[in-house]
């Protein structure tokens, strides 16, 4: 049974890259930290990711990108999220992201960017502190 208080996270692997060690480790760490985690598997398009996030009613989308394609992929995801009015969903990006790309990604709506060497704990804490409160439930 899903616990309504649990934070729900979609861990997604967009683009052509198949290096999924980080995505899998993070998925497990968030699960161990008591969150509900849905891992999409590989090669997800922006559409697939946003649809999965809507279906699964998640609080957080974590995108794992190591290939350098983040500038093309991330704004597409955040744009689709805007269209779907998913303003309450936190977007995080983890992977090999050069410093110079960070301002544009933040401007596109990414809340947290985690570069190589970030500890699992840092990410867990970031989510706990920044996840947006759920809408008033009946």
């Amino acid at each position: 049974m899903a616990n309504e208080n649990r934070i729900r996270v979609l861990v997604a692997k967009p683009g052509l890259d198949g290096h999924d060690r980080g995505a899998k480790v993070i998925a497990r760490a968030l699960r161990d930290a008591g969150m509900e985690v849905i891992y999409t598997g590989l090669r997800q398009t922006a559409d697939m990711i946003v649809n999965a996030a809507l279906q699964e009613d998640v609080d957080v989308i974590g995108l794992s990108i190591l290939s350098g394609a983040h500038n093309a992929i991330v704004p597409r995801v955040t744009e689709l999220m805007k269209q779907q009015k998913m303003d309450d969903v936190l977007v995080l990006v983890g992977g090999i992201i050069p410093d110079q790309d960070i301002p544009a990604l933040k401007a596109a709506g990414v809340s947290g960017i985690f570069q190589p060497g970030t500890s699992m704990d840092t990410i867990v804490q970031f989510i706990r502190e920044n996840v947006k409160p759920r809408g008033v439930t009946a």
């Binding site: 052509l16 890259d17 999924d20 060690r21 899998k24 290939s67 699992m120």
Partner: protein
Amino acid sequence: MRSSKWRKRRALRCTRQRKSPRDVTQGRHPTAAERRWAETTLTRALEQHPEKPIGAPTGINLDEHGEARFTTLSGRPIRRLYTRADLPEDWSEEKYLGYPGQAPYTRGIHPTGYRGKLWTMRQFSGFASPEETNERYQYLLASGSHGLSVAFDLPTLMGYDSDHAFAEGEVGKCGVAIDSLEDMEILFQGIDLEKITVSMTINSPASVLWAMYLAVAEKQGADWKKISGTLQNDILKEYIAQKEYIYPPAESMRLVVDTFEFGSRYTPRFNTISISGYHIREAGSTAMQELAFTLYDGVEYVEWARKRGLDVDEFAPRLSFFFNAHNDFFEEIAKYRAARKIWYHVMKDRFGAKNERSWLLRFHTQTAGVSLTAQQPIINIARVAIQALAGVLGGTQSLHTDSYDEALALPTAEAARTALRTQQIIAYESGVANTIDPLGGSYFVEHQTLEMEQAALKYFAQLDAMGGMVKAIEHGFPQKEIAEASYQYQRAAEAREKVTVAANEFVIEEESPQTLYIGDAVGKRQCEKLKSLRHRRDNHAVRKALDALKHAAAMTPTAGTGGQVSEANTMPFILEAVKAYATVGEICQALREVYGTYEESAFT
């Protein structure tokens, strides 16, 4: 007359004997001298200075008695001291090691080690456009590189052209973008393919890129019988670890066996496969898992080729291997030494290979990209040097040393040169190439080598019971084993039980370094080149070649006779297609239409 003082001292020593460290006698039979040492010298030292674990005194660093535990990077416990008592009773050089160039090849495949020929210094490189990568190749060769190693970008690796929707944002980012034979011609402009050996890291579309390479060689006037190099072409580790696959496993294996057959007939000096543990390790496996899964992948390829009807001694001499060189120095050396021995027995005993060349495990080594820190990146040079040294002491045939900035980006020219210089210091200054297998006979290294072998054979039995590697992959077995090991390591690292300098210890505040930045201009340029090519070439010839390929691909091949390849072997048809300037994407699409595509269940 002995004094009562003497008797007292003796009595005290007896009590100490009863307290001698339990690990010295547990499960082993030390000599009387070792026992005495443990009871006296060692016991005294431990009483005065108890051992302290390296890393946080929790979890993996404590044994069941709460005492310090020392483990390899892969988490295997390591004893304080290794002696003859740690080797099997029947252990002898003759029985367990042999001599270099002699079975079971533990000490190396060459009777002269590096004295006849150093390892090949082969730096993996490729980025942006074929023009820019060609420039980097010229630079590396001018800096003393012996061979080249091509890194392709993700669209190429996945069989898409640069103008495909899936390629957006990916063109030229992780390697060089190659769409057609034209790009391959540019890539090797001014490089004599009869003289320089080239390795190509390409898997699912391997036969397509290889055909392009052979076509360029032909255009240069090079003799196919003389050219040499290596095609990675290892699809099994893609399903297991790196996940760059296109077609389902059985169909992919058929394409691989097509290249074995083609190579054995027409390119006798080309390694048609590089069976790779590197990516398995990078995905988080232990050293034993890397060893076991890689060698068992080798078993699987041989099985499939034999099912086709190929004679093992015809293709096995061109099978080559590729291992990781990680941080744990002795564990890595043991891994390479065990690998040679296991492969010898597999080829001779399991497959009945008679040609000695079929028994030899030849391998390339690359230092562990995953071990590099983005923090204080300059220190990666030291890590790489230690890892590379392990590869050399393990008897590698060729070596890539990572650049220090690779946790952040593809390397700058200066970082790439420094990495090459690191190998050159090992080769020309350190003296380690003077003698063969200098660690052979070390109690520790020999014990580790045997432990590696036993652990790998245990996995072999499990994989045999599952019906082979393709079946095991379909069950997610190696994937889950690796994910578990990867998580355990990450947990230990987070707890600082395993120390990574600059990442979880000895951390400083710092600025990010200057790195290579690949923008999106290369994507636009490749798209323009494709548009122009599609306009210029004979599209009718392209269509005809692709139809012929699809026809052959749909047939079931049996081994060709009389020095020819099977009529259904896809290689000759792919060659025709690339010569007509069909693109990587078009050829892979033709095969997708015949074979379909593969998607794995998401294991976490």
